[in-house]
Symmetry: C2
Subunit: 311 residues, 2 copies
Amino acid sequence: MGKHIRVFAPASASNLGPGFDVLGLALERPGDVVEVEARDQVGVEIVSVTGAPSLSTDPTTNVVGIAAAAVLKRLPAPRRGVRMWLHKQMPLASGLGSSAASSVGGAVAVNELFDGGLSNDALVECALEGEVVASGTAHADNVAPSMFGGIVLIRSVEPLDLITLPVPATLRVVVVHPHTEVATAEARQLVSEQRFAIGQTVANLGNVAALVSALHTGDLALFARSIQDALVEPIRAPLVPGFNEVKAAAVAAGALGCSISGSGPSMVAFADSDGKAQAVAAAMQDAFAVAGLASDPFVGPVNTRGAEVIG
Amino acid sequence: MGKHIRVFAPASASNLGPGFDVLGLALERPGDVVEVEARDQVGVEIVSVTGAPSLSTDPTTNVVGIAAAAVLKRLPAPRRGVRMWLHKQMPLASGLGSSAASSVGGAVAVNELFDGGLSNDALVECALEGEVVASGTAHADNVAPSMFGGIVLIRSVEPLDLITLPVPATLRVVVVHPHTEVATAEARQLVSEQRFAIGQTVANLGNVAALVSALHTGDLALFARSIQDALVEPIRAPLVPGFNEVKAAAVAAGALGCSISGSGPSMVAFADSDGKAQAVAAAMQDAFAVAGLASDPFVGPVNTRGAEVIG
């Protein structure tokens, strides 16, 4: 019997306030597990998908299959084939980078299976082929952190230019996922139709620059002042029931800042200790409950390992 | 005879590619000199202005007088008065922060004269009162570097939030001023009328974030990739005769990057050695000459001292 590879690919929170499409970070949990082994026929077979009944096992429409096929295409001859199992362990359309995690898991697992040695950039490009299908555009702010861990700055997608930023030791991330859905493609459509005034743009330029500086110096007070989004949050906030109340609750409970995670409906907040992070999560859940939504909290440090082979 | 204070306030280059209204740096030269001494009557008198025949000695319209009056208003009682001399040592409407240098010189000199001890933020606010008159809006990306030196990030103007960024040791700045004028207020009007697509905005978010990271790590290759402006440069480039040719000449001569300095017509480029900086300046001057414009080069490290009392 041949090699059997299992890969855990973490969820991620993108945008982080001012950094629309350019900043993302990896979470300790949740995350998807992708299993893969070689098969005799060329091409990709998805044997099963657990945890997400709505997802297809058609490898040309499921992102895990698309990313796997992209890796196979880049491997040196001979042409090969894989059999895959996808264990979705996080909600779809949640703002947690669900499609990115599956894409990353598929790409990393297949590369690992065949000792493919694809470069980091090539692996990201393969995972992005899945992400394009899921969201309509190739943005790497979930794929890159899910693959490499940490807080990643995507300076550019074409050409791909990724910068891993320092993670302050005491920084804690709180993501709260309310039980409702926001379709990523529709949320992106709202943004792409918009035209922005220079004042909004300047506000985000200042805040994203300050946020990066704060990460380099570990200045969490500056980090807190910088978690502001004048561009996209005003457009997307109405898609998240209870947004204003949840954000206010997070800040009142001691959060360094709070914004939408990706295209929502999950919201992400930051704290400077485990205790405060737990309090912030509880306050955010209470506020979602008032808005009529049950929710799941994910609290922890930034995941600095990224996708990894597991036993 | 009472105290007589002389202050040198340096020119500055703002925007630095992607950082419209949020980034600026101070130059070693040129710069304005402001002299001030106390007088018996309250209020401001501008005795003379040298170097700029078009500038008024009316203290309510010359920025040096406006900034001086703003400082006088904030000083503790009794109400005081000053007599001032402004020595313009740089061109107006040049993209070199000329009005900011005069404003900073006026504010710093009056504060120094009366041992006023105004906070840094208060001094910036006083200088900004002059800047508003000159350009129509309170942007601090020339005032802040002229006052404090270095490379300054303006996260926010209201409330004022300034961050001084690290300056890589080998970084050299090249500013070339062609003998033509761009009216700052008109150049700003062009930008404020514009509405921007999200793609342009994301490009600048990624580049300004990467530029800040590059300054923190001293990574001049990343710095070079980040000196790109998808927002404002395309609008303002047509105001600068020979823009495309000057930029291409700078890059061909080894510049790390090249863009418009402030609202132009000066252009700013960067290099990683004195020798390359000189070569870049010469290439830019040659390209301006082909466009029919004589020019002045200013080459050196970033001025990290800012405004200072001189003998």
